[in-house]
């Protein structure tokens, strides 16, 4: 079990004036599965390569259990990186690919064969050792890449966009496989992705990087309930932002006053809430009931999106189609926003 600490890590490529990664700090507890989330080009892969020793940082430090590893060569660091496109060696069989790391450590052939077979069984590819990587499907290649990494029992596992090349139905299968193997072997794992869904589905903790800086490092649900700012809320699909003033457990908007949960900050700010937390009630008795006019209604099969006008503001809601079947465009309707789903951002 290894505690990974990244301290003020910065990388500026030669010939470039802007750093590709600026001052990133991150703590990953032993055995934790953490995600580095951010749009393409924000330095995620650069970060992984620096942890793996494949790239030298311009400044900053990487420590494992408090010891700096920057001077360790990549082959001695105990970090294995699995690339997004798997990079199985094309001229080697599946078994040779999986056994590669052991061969490099000069483990004897019989032991390599045994451990390769065990590993292939573990990733649910028993008996495919003789195949060439080109004969495997994308999902199978991914599992071979994972087996090739895990067989050397790394202290730290790095995964580059582990689910993004997979079809929707394979994603959950792979997610379960990665989670179960990672927990079983207790390997501290960091993966990077640009897809917030992938991060939420897989990670214990997510670090969000926007505009070259780390915005927030929390467990996935916090990003939905308690985002740090508007950009973070937007990245996670937030659409409702109302400006106003928070005082004494209440938020004053342009159209009225809403009750807030107790842990909200005070002062001028932006009120945010998830579209899926809005209820179309018809009643006026619930807390935070608002009378709004339906401007737009889009049926999406399993859900319906509503755009509602309240005074000069718009509110976006996502509801169960059955609840709004009879609602027509232009009609007025009562909606309620439960106080615990409200959150105030500094503007």
């Amino acid at each position: 079990m290894t505690h990974v600490s990244i301290q003020s890590l910065t990388k500026t490529y030669p010939g470039s004036s802007e750093p590709s990664l600026d001052n990133l700090s991150l703590e990953i507890a032993s055995g934790e599965l953490a995600a580095l989330l951010g749009p393409s080009g924000c330095g995620k892969t650069t970060t992984m390569k620096m942890i793996a020793g494949l790239l030298e940082p311009t400044s900053g430090d990487v420590t494992f259990d408090g010891r700096s590893v920057l001077r360790d060569k990549p082959e001695h660091r105990g970090v294995v990186m699995v690339f997004q496109n798997y990079l199985l060696f094309p001229y080697m069989s599946v078994a040779e690919n999986v056994g590669f790391g052991l061969k490099m450590r000069k483990v004897n052939k019989v032991e390599i064969d045994n451990r390769v077979n065990d590993m292939l069984a573990l990733v649910k590819l028993p008996g495919l050792g003789k195949r060439k990587p080109s004969e495997l499907s994308g999902g199978q290649q991914q599992r071979v890449a994972l087996a090739r990494a895990l067989i050397v029992q790394p202290k730290v596992l790095l995964l580059d966009e582990p689910l993004s090349n997979l079809d929707a139905h394979l994603r959950f299968e792979m997610r379960d496989l990665i989670r179960s193997l990672q927990q079983e072997m207790g390997i501290t794992t960091l993966f990077v992705t640009h897809d917030q869904e992938e991060a939420v589905v897989l990670a214990d903790k997510v670090a969000l990087i926007l505009d070259g800086r780390m915005k927030q490092y929390d467990s996935p649900d916090v990003f939905y309930k308690r985002p740090v700012d508007k950009a973070t809320a937007r990245f996670f699909g937030g659409q409702n932002f109302l400006n106003g003033n928070a005082t004494n457990g209440q938020f004053k908007t342009s159209f009225g006053v809403l009750d807030l949960p107790i842990d909200c900050r005070r002062g001028t700010g932006t009120l945010t809430f998830r579209p899926e937390n809005i209820c179309v009630t018809g009643k006026t008795t619930e807390t935070n009931t608002i009378n709004a006019q339906l401007v737009e209604k889009i049926y999406l099969g399993t859900q319906t999106r509503l755009k509602l006008a309240v005074g000069t503001e718009f509110i976006h809601a996502v509801v169960n189609p059955a609840e709004v079947e009879n609602l027509e465009q232009g009609q007025r309707v009562n909606i309620a926003i439960p106080p615990e789903s409200l959150w105030v951002l500094t503007s």
């Binding site: 793996a52 990549p74 690339f83 490099m104």
Partner: protein, 285 residues
């Protein structure tokens, strides 16, 4: 116009030229090597020319020498070209200059390189003078024989000079399209720098290196002017011997020259087979 007719029309002139000139030359050479030439009244093919060529010790020595030249030059050039490509892949002071010289060297004809090697390595050449200056030799005869020598060292040096950039640029392009990620994977799985090269990069480069080497081998086996300028009189390289036989005052020697040309062609056919195997593999990967 249907596609079929269009293709025929597009290809016809080119195929006509290649078939008539290249394959015509090959077939006529083959016929003459069998002493078969109905136009001049030779209607009974025989193996006389091959018999006299294959029993001739000069041919035997010449074949061995030519094979040695081609094989040694190809192996040395390939190995050094891989090294040079590894060097050129990284940033270093002077990389742009080396790159430019590589390309410049490609455009310099072999003949010019051969003359340069002659002036550098002959017994009165620049290196001999340098050795004399430093008191290492007393006179030209003390300088090792590198030109007109039985081991064809001068010829090989010339080919190596000319072919390192040729193979090197092809290997470098291969390296750039392979990228460094495969080696990164290997390193992170515990391979040392050397192991990552030996077990990962080299096997990935091999098809490209082999298809380039095959072209070099065929060229060095069949080139005339370089051994004609830098080679010993006896045994001469096969193309030189074939040319001599062909231009001999005794016209009876011509079928023997043709037989030697056919030997060179057969060897190149083997090279084509190897080339196709590896260039296809390169495309597939």
């Amino acid at each position: 116009m249907s596609d079929r007719i269009r293709i025929v029309v597009l290809l016809f002139p080119a195929m006509l030229i290649i078939v008539v000139l290249f394959f015509g030359g090959l077939v006529v050479g083959l016929m003459r090597s069998f002493n078969y030439m109905p136009v001049i009244g030779l209607t009974e093919p025989n193996l006389q020319a091959y018999w006299s060529v294959f029993t001739d010790q000069e041919f035997f020595l010449s074949f061995l020498l030519t094979f040695h030249i081609a094989f040694t030059s190809t192996v040395i050039s390939s190995v050094l070209a891989i090294g040079a490509a590894l060097l050129l892949r990284r940033r270093f002071v002077g990389r742009a200059l080396v790159n430019f010289l590589f390309q410049l060297n490609l455009t310099v004809p072999h003949l010019v390189g051969a003359i340069g090697i002659l002036y550098l390595f002959s017994q009165s050449g620049s290196f001999a003078r340098l050795a004399a200056e430093w008191g290492m030799i007393a006179g030209p005869a003390d300088f090792p024989e590198l030109i007109f020598d039985p081991y064809a060292i001068g010829i090989i040096i010339q080919y190596v000079w000319k072919e390192i950039p040729f193979i090197g640029l092809i290997v470098l392009a291969n390296m750039q399209s392979i990228g460094e990620d495969y080696e990164s994977v290997a390193r992170s799985l515990g391979a040392t720098r050397w192991q990552a090269f030996r077990y990962v990069l080299l096997p990935l480069l091999l098809p490209g290196v082999l298809s380039a080497s095959v072209m070099v081998f065929a060229f060095t086996f069949g080139a005339y002017e370089i051994p004609a300028l830098l080679g010993a009189n006896f045994p001469a390289a096969l193309p030189v011997l074939a040319y001599r036989k062909y231009t001999d005052v005794d016209l009876a020697a011509r079928p023997e020259a043709m037989a030697m040309a056919i030997v060179i062609a057969l060897l190149s056919a083997v090279m084509i087979v190897i080339y196709l195997r590896y260039s296809r593999r390169r495309i597939r990967d």
